[in-house]
């Protein structure tokens, strides 16, 4: 009788079992295999040898090519995040101050580009930035350029497109925290005599910081993990992105071991950043938890 009651109360917990099984089999176990592979050796022409070795990791850490690749990835992430912030903050601010009527429309306008396929977006920019593209044609028309400039497969192209792809996400992540900045605080500041610039500097910006940080963390982890964009339009720079390096090792050299190692390093890097900065945000008094903001 007691066992029945005990089970009845916890029945929802049993709901967790099938999903957990699915996730374990199709994600956790594959990840474990990945981890194992990262410690294996690759024999060219034969494939994997299941010998436990740290050689892959050593190779990654000692080869400047890979380390630079990591640096490029991390650095680009930072650059993209900063620029994206500059674009996204005003939009998020307007949304939170907008009346309910307009919010629906604004949201649709924000979400439509967001959920449009990334390939479509890349194609759009290809048209704009390509050799025969609109920008080049204009620049040549106005005699600012003699020959078409390769925007697309350069670093600039990568940055532009990455920013483009991530602005909507960043905006969505910022809306919540900005809404938490109560109007009454701003009003009190104004009543005390603060001018617009002061209000921004002393009230709005400081209070936005935790929100900005948590949004930035999420977008940052997305950017450093970027795959398609560097692959398609990155050119030589794209090849140095971690995800693309991983892909190359799978596609070209069939070196699953080393590819796995890169994957593991990427995961560790992402996780460390997330955890460190989450703690940082948490410790700020008006904080927002990163885990709550995994929104798309």
């Amino acid at each position: 009788m007691d066992l029945r009651n005990y089970l009845k109360k916890r029945i929802y917990l049993f709901f967790l079992v099938p999903p957990l099984m699915v996730l374990t089999v199709f994600l956790l176990i594959p990840l474990a295999i990945l981890l194992q592979y990262s410690f294996s050796t690759h024999i060219p022409g034969q494939g994997l040898k299941m010998v436990f070795t740290l050689s892959n990791y050593l190779r990654f850490v000692t080869d400047k090519y890979y380390l630079n690749g990591l640096l490029i990835t991390l650095g680009t992430g930072l650059l993209v995040v900063i620029i994206t912030l500059l674009f996204a903050y005003p939009v998020a601010y307007l949304y939170s101050k907008a009346s309910f009527r307009y919010r629906g429309l604004l949201l649709i306008m924000l979400l439509s580009p967001f959920y449009t396929n990334v390939i479509v977006k890349i194609y759009g920019w290809m048209v704009i930035l390509g050799r025969q593209g609109i920008v080049n044609k204009m620049l040549i028309n106005y005699n600012l350029l003699e020959r078409p400039f390769e925007f697309l497969y350069s670093y600039i192209g990568v940055i532009i497109i990455m920013v483009y792809v991530h602005v909507p996400m960043m905006t969505l992540l910022l809306i919540g925290p900005i809404q938490n900045i109560k109007d009454s605080w701003i009003e009190s500041a104004r009543i005390c005599g603060a001018r617009n610039l002061d209000v921004i500097k002393n009230i709005i910006l400081p209070l936005s910081v935790p929100g900005i940080l948590s949004g930035a963390i999420i977008v940052y982890t997305a950017v450093i993990a970027a795959f398609i964009i560097p692959l398609l339009v990155g050119g030589d720079w794209g090849k140095r992105f971690i995800s693309v390096m991983m892909y190359t090792h799978i596609n070209v050299t069939q070196n699953w071991a080393f590819a796995s190692t890169i994957a593991v390093i990427l995961i560790i890097t992402s996780l460390s950043i997330i955890i460190t900065f989450s703690r940082l945000v948490k410790s700020m008094k008006v904080g927002v938890l990163v885990s709550e903001k995994f929104n798309r």
Binding site: L23, V91, Y115, V118, V120, G124, V127, V167, S270
Partner: protein, 255 residues
């Protein structure tokens, strides 16, 4: 504010250009187009590959979002209602597909399927998409569930309905918005997915985004614009429907 106009313009202009080009009468991708023609739309509808890929993407997205929905309901019920020791860990585990780089998910699953020798490409794709979309359905449904007043369940029970009846008559109807939004979200995410599809697909099960990507490697012509226009339109319609029916702001955890 002016900056807003700039940003929204920035977001929409590439899409508008693509739409414009899709009506181009020639091979040239000029904007504004030199005329209006539907030839490219006809062209892509004739291409078996595109049509097949559309079908593949649609089917995979459908089944993946369905399963993700069920899983979402199961997991949300457990997470929202109970506090147990491993709760946060389990929550994080289910959120992993978002946290992990998509490439890693793709590679890991590919290795796994290779090892166990599973070569049903349809299932591989669907399973991969399920994993990728689970966090979204969980997010959406648990958002709805958090707002659910548990006293309603108590009221139902006291009035004589048992737990199953209460679940059916009170709980389910009230988390419907979360379920619908979650399913729509999952569908879009799945349809849009490139990375995981790239790794898990087979020769006969190429999803649409990947197909476009492959096409782009060799041809640059307005046919891609035509497909894009269709996709953009479908996306916008879905978003508008979702917003009207469900009030997306709730599900996006914005309000």
């Amino acid at each position: 504010m002016v900056s807003n106009v700039i940003v929204y313009a920035f977001l929409f202009i590439p899409l508008l250009i693509v739409v414009g080009i899709s009506f181009s009468p020639t091979y040239q991708m000029l904007f504004p187009p030199q005329g209006l023609s539907l030839r490219w739309f006809k062209y892509i509808l004739d291409q078996k590959e595109f049509v097949d890929s559309f079908y593949v993407s649609a089917v995979v997205a459908f089944f993946a979002s369905l399963v993700a929905l069920v899983i979402g309901v199961l997991v949300s019920l457990a997470i929202v209602r109970y506090h147990f020791r491993w709760k946060t860990t389990i929550e994080n585990i289910f959120m992993m597909p978002i946290i992990l780089p998509t490439v890693v998910t793709g590679v890991a699953m590919l290795q796994f399927f290779s090892i166990i020798g599973y070569s049903d490409f349809w299932m591989r794709l669907i399973l991969g998409h399920i994993i990728v979309t689970i966090p979204y359905t969980i997010r959406s449904i648990s958002a709805s569930l958090y707002g659910f007043n548990r006293r309603l369940e108590e009221a139902s029970l006291i009035m004589g309905a048992n737990y199953v009846q209460t679940f059916k008559n009170i709980l389910l109807p009230l988390i419907k918005p979360g379920m619908i939004a979650g399913a729509l979200l999952a569908f879009i995410i799945s349809f849009d997915n490139v990375t995981v599809s790239l790794f898990l697909m087979g020769a006969k099960t190429v999803t649409l985004p990947v197909r476009i990507m492959l096409y782009l490697e060799w041809h640059i012509d307005p046919s891609v614009a035509a497909i894009s226009t269709i996709l953009i339109t479908l996306t916008m319609i879905t978003i508008i429907i979702a917003e009207r029916i469900v009030g997306l702001s709730n599900i996006m955890r914005i309000e």
